[in-house]
Amino acid sequence: MKRAVFNNNWVAAAMVAPQLLIIFIFFYWPTSQAMYWAFTLEQPWGGGNTWVGFENFIALLTDDLYWYSVQVSVIYAIGSTVLAIGMALILAVFVDRQLRGFKSYKIGLIWPYAIAAPAVGLAFRFIFNPGAGVMLYVNDVFPGAWNPNANGTHAMIMVIVAGAWKQVAYNFIFFLAGLQSIPRSLVEAGAMDGARVLRRMRDIQLPLLAPTFFFVLVINITDSFTDSFGIVDTMTGGGPARATNLMVYKIFNDGFQGLDYSGAAAQSIILMFLVVSLTFVQFRYIERKVHYT
């Protein structure tokens, strides 16, 4: 294969520079600032800071409530990812099989991804409101069955469903594209050999979908740790009794509302390393099982 090579390095540098500059301004610079703050006690109004070494990290890691926040974040990440990937896969298979009306709901399914997280949160807050929304009917039949305002488990389910709903659209696009890139002849050959729909899916389509599946998994896990803020903020505000106080929401709460800049910076660093290491683990161990065609 012939490789395209720039003979003029200056042109190449000029092309790359804007992107590098953006990454520097919006990633490396804030990250280095956060890194510095995490090792100091920063006065909110400026006016200096004190170097405290690992004190902020030790305070966090010995705090039960911080670990609780990590725990609920992991529950949220697993819950929303499984739900979003599962739903998207089923829907994509339906569209791929061109079941009745697939054209209209193909477009309908893509829309939710364009909706901002806070808007999703507001809509689901109404749907799940025990006193006013759709769930009111459930509570009418089984009094007290649904109360996300007092019951932490209910609140978590509510946030997971809203987060997954938003993510389904994104996953759907990738799964559909993945399914449609599987050569028709493979599936047809399977059919001629007598494999039925589920068998063909298990033995032919899903294995060939593995690279897409892997990509979607990485994106979903990362997204559930970092992009859940808008949904939590509008739906539960981290409550009740911290049951939905996800790591990213706790950072906002402590840093911006509580003016504890250093504690929040330390939490950001931990979150960043967590996401980086999760992604690393996925590439190192799960990707081995993925075969690219």
Binding site: Q43, G131, A241, Q257
Partner: protein, 443 residues
Amino acid sequence: MNRTITTVTALGLALIGSAAAAEPVKFEYWYGLTGDLGARLADTCTRFNDAQDAYEISCISYDGYELVVQSAIAAFRAGKAPTILQSFDAGTADLMMSGEFYPVQKMMADFGIDVDWSNYFPGITNYYASSKGELFSMPFNSSTAVMYYNVADLEKVGLKAPETWEDFEAAMKAVKAADPARCGFAYEPSVWIDLEQFSAIHNLGIATNNNGYDGLDTQFTYNTTLHVKHMENIQRWMTEGLAEMKTAATGATSQDTFAQNICTFYFGSIASHSSVHLKAVEGLNWNVAMLPIYAGTERRNSVVGGASLWVLSGKSEAEYRGAAEYMKFVALPEQEKWFVANTGYIPVTKTAFAELTAEGFYNDAPFKGREVAMKQLTFTEPGPLTRGYRLGSMIQTRAEWKSEVEAAFNGQKTMQEALDTAVERSNAMLAKFAKTYAGKTLP
């Protein structure tokens, strides 16, 4: 060629000169009041701009006190802060420690504006003054918490507004006995009312060092005071069905359920007096009274809530002069009276209160009852434990109280355990605050 340039330059300079003469000095004022109250605040800016043409204040609205303070901090760090910032009680300690402000008492003196500071209610000025008594920020929208009660409900059972918590419990029981379907007390956990106002009127500290005024090495103590018994009582009232949790999360706030004639009692800021009037259903017969005290205790003054106006550092002299003129303007008795009448806030000067009383402002609806807040706030002279709270990380420590109390109401732990945990966690925050400002002292 040279000549042309000179002419053009001269022309340009002349244009700049004439523009400068006509252009008013512009400065910004960021505020966190929202809704109807925010609109009235914006009106004060319009009225100021209409009244003179040397200065132009531009008032920028933020969605809440917390947001306006955090936005101002971010802007300040970027060198783009407003000249005037409306900051709430919980932001006071951080601002004081930063020193990045122009003390308002000094500013008014520097610009030769004569203000009779003794005319301000001491219960209000103490919250915003240094330990030496110098006023750092301008008292503006001030409030305190009061008891809202349904007059008709109490008349039906032959009772008056309860003055003690014991009578309050008896009143709830009587109302429930008369109509079991009635919600007695719409409760919404509020650290400001249940802890801060409650402790002040009972002359109890919530923290050492006279509630933080005397130093940064402060510790919370509210898990050892009457506050615990009070919270346990509220919890008991809820289990007995006398009180019900009414928050936005449960569908309707305590204020809404009161205004909709569902509940007999609710506790809230006097600033909501006008909101309750607007929301009240047809025929709702209601009034406000002072917060109850426990029998056998002696009533003291309550503490002020609301917000004050801070002038931030790093601005030009012209902008400071503008800020001083604006403060002078809003402090004019007729402007103050206008703001008081159009919101639920209380007058901050003795003159305005005396004039309003003399004019009969408090005699009839919709303003009748608001004088209760003044009576409660000035019930005694502020003492060491009723001056206010000078505590760091106050937004976070308030949140700790709320989370723990919620956990107790949800049955996860006892109230005493919850308050112990809240105090322990809040003390760690205070220690961190003190360490952040190591080597500095409260002004």
